[in-house]
């Protein structure tokens, strides 16, 4: 296990390198018009000297090498368009904790509500609670988030008697964004947990437990739940770490100064150093989440083995 994980961590370094290289090459395919605000009015010489200033006129391998050399020295570069000449780390540092806090609060709320909900729905399958829960899941799935976020903001701010604009120090302001963000995940966890538990409940070991005379609650909560949770645990570390990405809808609706939408924004504005730094951050987080997820799966279900096994395939 330890060997497997360390091997994977080493390989992940290589993966990160490849991701950055690919993103770097892709970014260089962007139209050069995008680098200049007033491209049409510039003369050919002005464009060339502009490109030279940004180092974009050099051959690709040279540019790539320079980026990795700077990266190894811990230099993520400076932003050029998003905020001129400000180091990328300085721009990201205040934004990350905000998105992280918002996202993990929302994730926590959705786990606390979603998991019991899914379990109870499976326990009382076909009964009133199941229908009620399914109704909720269907509603959240059906109405696009972009729409119900708007209505929640509109009526929620009236109900709570607060202003629409966000204030980071007022805990009341966190209620609506956190609640809005968790709704989708509540439905997601409840739906899949119910599905897995219902699938699991026709297995032979459940019948054995029933023949042994265990109570229905005991079977549900200690036998079926653990097995049904295995496929879900895989995604948990990723979901937690991914909260750093932020929510583009929520953060723009409530004007929260987080990470949400930042990546899309800097890609569209072709601020390449910013894009590279954010991609590096998100990729690192994503890879670690995947490894943690695989480890959690093995811990929860000892029958699962990862990597090569003698006699296996």
């Amino acid at each position: 296990m330890l060997l497997y994980v360390s091997k994977r961590l080493l390989r992940s370094l290589l993966t990160l390198f490849i991701i950055l290289a690919i993103v770097f090459i892709l970014l260089r395919q962007m139209p050069i018009e995008g680098y200049f605000a007033n491209y049409d009015k510039l003369s050919k010489m002005q464009i060339e000297s502009g490109l030279h200033q940004m180092g974009l006129d050099q051959p690709m391998p040279v540019q790539l090498g320079r980026m990795f050399k700077n990266l190894l020295q811990g230099d993520l570069g400076t932003s050029r368009i998003y905020r001129n000449n400000v180091p990328v780390t300085q721009i990201l540092a205040p934004k990350i904790p905000i998105s992280l806090k918002l996202g993990s609060l929302a994730l926590l709320v959705s786990l606390i509500i979603g998991i019991p909900m899914g379990t109870l729905m499976a326990r009382y399958k076909g009964k009133f609670f199941d229908h009620l829960g399914t109704g909720f899941v269907v509603f959240i799935q059906a109405v696009p988030a972009a729409v119900y976020y708007l209505f929640l903001q509109l009526y929620g701010t009236q109900l709570l008697g607060i202003k629409m604009l966000f204030n980071i120090n007022d805990w009341k302001m966190w209620i609506l964004p956190v609640f809005s963000m968790s709704l989708g995940n509540i439905a997601y966890y409840a739906m899949w947990l119910r599905r897995y538990m219902v699938d699991e409940s026709t297995k032979d070991y459940v019948q054995l437990a029933r023949i042994k005379g265990l109570s229905e609650n005991n079977i549900m909560f200690s036998h079926i739940f653990r097995n049904a949770f295995v496929p879900m645990i895989q995604y948990l570390p990723t979901s937690f770490l991914n909260t750093v990405i932020g929510s583009i809808y929520i953060e723009s609706l409530y004007s929260i100064p987080g990470m949400g939408g930042l990546l899309v924004d800097v890609i569209k504005r072709q601020d390449n150093t910013m894009v590279q730094a954010i991609v590096l951050l998100f990729a690192t987080v994503g890879i670690i989440g995947l490894i943690l997820g695989d480890m959690a799966m093995v811990v929860l279900d000892p029958r699962i083995t990862l990597g090569h096994k003698k006699g296996g395939r």
Binding site: R8, R11, S12, L14, T15, I18, I19, I22, V23, L26, L27, Q29, M30, P31, V137, V138, Q141, A142, V143, P144, A145, A146, V147, L150, L154, R195, V198, D199, T202, Q207, V230, P231, Q234, I248, Y249, G261, L263, V264, I267, K268, V275, V279, F282, A283, G286, I287, L290, M297, D301, R303, I304, T305, L306, G307, H308, K309, G312, R313
Partner: protein, 344 residues
């Protein structure tokens, strides 16, 4: 519930053993049996068919049948609607014959005279540039459903093939895991922008851009399930008996996954439609000349703050919600019906 032997089979077996004992000498009885093809098929007669039972179980669910027919009718109507009498093309801007100005933001149900002198009732009103919202919604539903279904099919096909290889063949695990890490971490926005930069904007380009990145999630989903079941006893037994890998995949693994694959596919159609809404929101969606639910909802969002214009957001949302609910309910019911243990 103990497994009961089929009485027909039991009596056949008894008869067979009796006949064998009568007709065969000891020597014959204790020699190895030859492979005889006619004996292979010798079982009790059962007319059980997996797919028929699945459809029967599905048809018993009234609500599922209702939503399935609803979505079928909806799809049919998106094609029939332009051919109905008295319809206005969704792209046409409707002008007032007296002033020459377009009919902007007409309330639903308003009846006005058009430039060609005919009376027209705008069932759902008009949008901010004077186009018929009713026609726009149906044209948009057609486009969005087409995108959703096509992307879901491509995703499912590529995702299942890659997912099985990734999960089942241990030697490929590292390779695919790293490939996943690479592809999953290249921002979709870059891919979208670059595809839009190389190819002309349109439905085909959007489908390509969405499929390029969409199969990854499906592949990982399948891979996780394969890892969970690949070392179960029945697969171990199959491997020990020398079953070839393709046969294990087709006969042991895939049937086990069919219910979750169906559910996932049924959900991915509305998810793709919702994704189109998101792509439009970040400004990389279809051009405004093509009606789609994404375009309609994003235009509607801007009308949100004036209560009298909210209908422009509400109507496209209702259609999108109906589509999603239908796929969700029928997908779930199908997934339940596909579990052979639920069959009678």
């Amino acid at each position: 519930m103990p497994r009961l032997k089929n009485p027909a089979i039991t009596s056949m077996e008894e008869e067979f053993t009796k006949r064998m004992a009568e007709e065969m000498t000891d020597e014959e009885l204790f020699s190895f049996a030859e492979f005889d093809e006619s004996q292979v098929e010798r079982t009790g007669y059962s007319n059980y068919s997996y797919w028929r039972s699945t459809f029967q179980a599905f048809a018993r669910r009234k609500s599922a049948m209702f939503f399935l027919s609803l979505v079928v009718l909806l799809v049919l109507f998106t094609f029939i609607q332009p051919m109905l009498p008295g319809q206005i093309d969704y792209f046409q801007v409707n002008n007032d014959p007296t002033s020459g100005l377009p009919y902007r933001n007409l309330r639903p149900g308003t009846e006005v005279t058009l430039t060609d002198g005919t009376q027209h009732r705008f069932l759902l009103g008009t949008n901010s540039i004077g186009q018929d919202l009713w026609a726009n919604i149906w044209a948009g539903t057609r486009t969005s459903l087409f995108i959703g279904v096509t992307v879901a099919l491509i995703e499912a096909f590529v995702g299942i093939v890659i997912g099985i290889l990734w999960g089942y063949v241990r030697k490929l695990d590292f390779f695919f895991t790293e490939l996943y890490n690479v592809l999953d971490n290249i921002p979709v926005t870059i891919v979208l922008i670059l595809v839009a930069y190389i190819l002309p904007a349109g439905v085909g380009t959007l489908i390509l851009a969405m499929s390029l990145t969409g199969w990854i999630g499906m592949a990982r989903f399948i891979r996780n399930f394969i890892i969970i079941i690949r070392d179960r006893e029945y697969n171990l037994a199959s491997r020990c008996l020398g079953t070839k890998t393709p046969k294990i995949i087709m006969k042991n693994l895939l049937p086990y996954l069919i219910s979750i694959i169906m559910l996932r596919m049924a959900l991915s159609i509305p998810a793709n439609i919702g994704y189109e809404v998101f792509i439009t929101y970040i400004g990389l969606g279809l051009p405004a000349t093509i009606a789609s639910l994404g375009n309609l909802i994003n235009v509607g969002r801007q009308m949100m703050l004036s209560p009298s214009l909210r209908y422009q957001l509400v109507y496209p949302t209702i259609i999108l919600s109906i589509v999603t609910i239908s796929f969700y309910v029928s997908g779930n019911a199908f997934s339940d019906a596909a579990d052979p243990k639920q069959h009678v």
